[in-house]
Symmetry: C2
Subunit: 177 residues, 2 copies
């Protein structure tokens, strides 16, 4: 796995930001998403996670075992960053080393009064950035002779917009996958 | 469905916030999540959505048809609000009324230069708040004689903390499900 993404994942996962979610699925393909805050990336391919509520998420993990964490950063309405960490449940501890470790982390948070029910242990199967959609430079891709000139499909003019296109032309990724 | 939740969903979905995500799943239970911004709740039980990238999301929807939108609001590191809208794909338009409608919405955004590939039409199957975990008042639940007094399990003292507990005792929901 890309080491830069691994380090970004570690930083963002371990920050325990309130914008951290876990998406899971039942055997009937019913997808769920929950805000999951108390977790720790304990090495390059493992995450442990405190479970005190999240009944549906927990049931889904017991059924299919697969999920994806998202830490989404939206410093303003126009910028997004973050990480997607794809996982599979490997252990469900009610005691033991990881249970104690996540309990200690939980105790340092405002959730410390919640009774810790499980420490979920995940194997990381993939890490992706938030933004994946590649957009080619419009001069190459979108403005050929005869192409309808839809409203809004204009060449970039301002330096900021130009930079935006320029970067995307070189492979920067700018929308969701 | 709870009309208050329907209205909250309409407001938050139609705001097209950058913190809007769609979680989907493949037939092998591989869960994905993507930031999906251009969408509109067109009536109480339908959402239309612009697809210009999101290849994995699109493939998943074609395979299993189910997903959940989340609009998450985190005005600070301690407060979260938002809505979860559970959906099933009903139509995939490359032209037609909804396609034109989402095209018009797209044209008013900074994504207007993206070529619109599909207008995905979803049926809403459920709407839930972000926070579902019920916590009983600690005076009733957590401080019985003989119960270990773990660090962090303290009675609330400040008015703010008291209010927090008090509201949760009356059914306010405060963590992820």
């Amino acid at each position: 796995m890309d080491q830069q993404l691994v380090e970004k994942a570690r930083t963002l996962i371990n920050a325990n930001l309130i914008s951290t979610t876990l998406s899971t699925v039942s055997k009937d393909y019913d997808v769920n998403i929950a805000v999951i805050t108390i977790l720790e990336m304990v090495d390059d391919d493992a995450i442990i996670c405190a479970r005190f509520g999240a009944d549906k998420t927990y049931a889904n993990l017991k059924e299919t075992g697969k999920g994806v964490f998202l830490v989404l950063l939206t410093p303003d309405q126009h910028t997004k960053d973050g990480i997607r960490v794809y996982v599979e449940l490997t252990e469900d501890q009610q005691e033991g080393e990881y249970y104690d470790r996540i309990r200690a982390r939980l105790d340092q948070t405002s959730y410390s009064h919640f009774p810790l029910r499980n420490c979920l242990v995940f194997k990381i199967t993939d890490i992706l950035p938030v933004s994946m959609h590649k957009k080619t430079f419009p001069a190459q891709a979108g403005y050929k002779k005869g192409r309808p000139n839809r409203p809004g499909r204009r060449r970039p003019t301002s330096p900021m917009i130009y930079r935006y296109y320029y970067q995307t032309a070189r492979g920067m990724k700018i929308a969701g996958d």
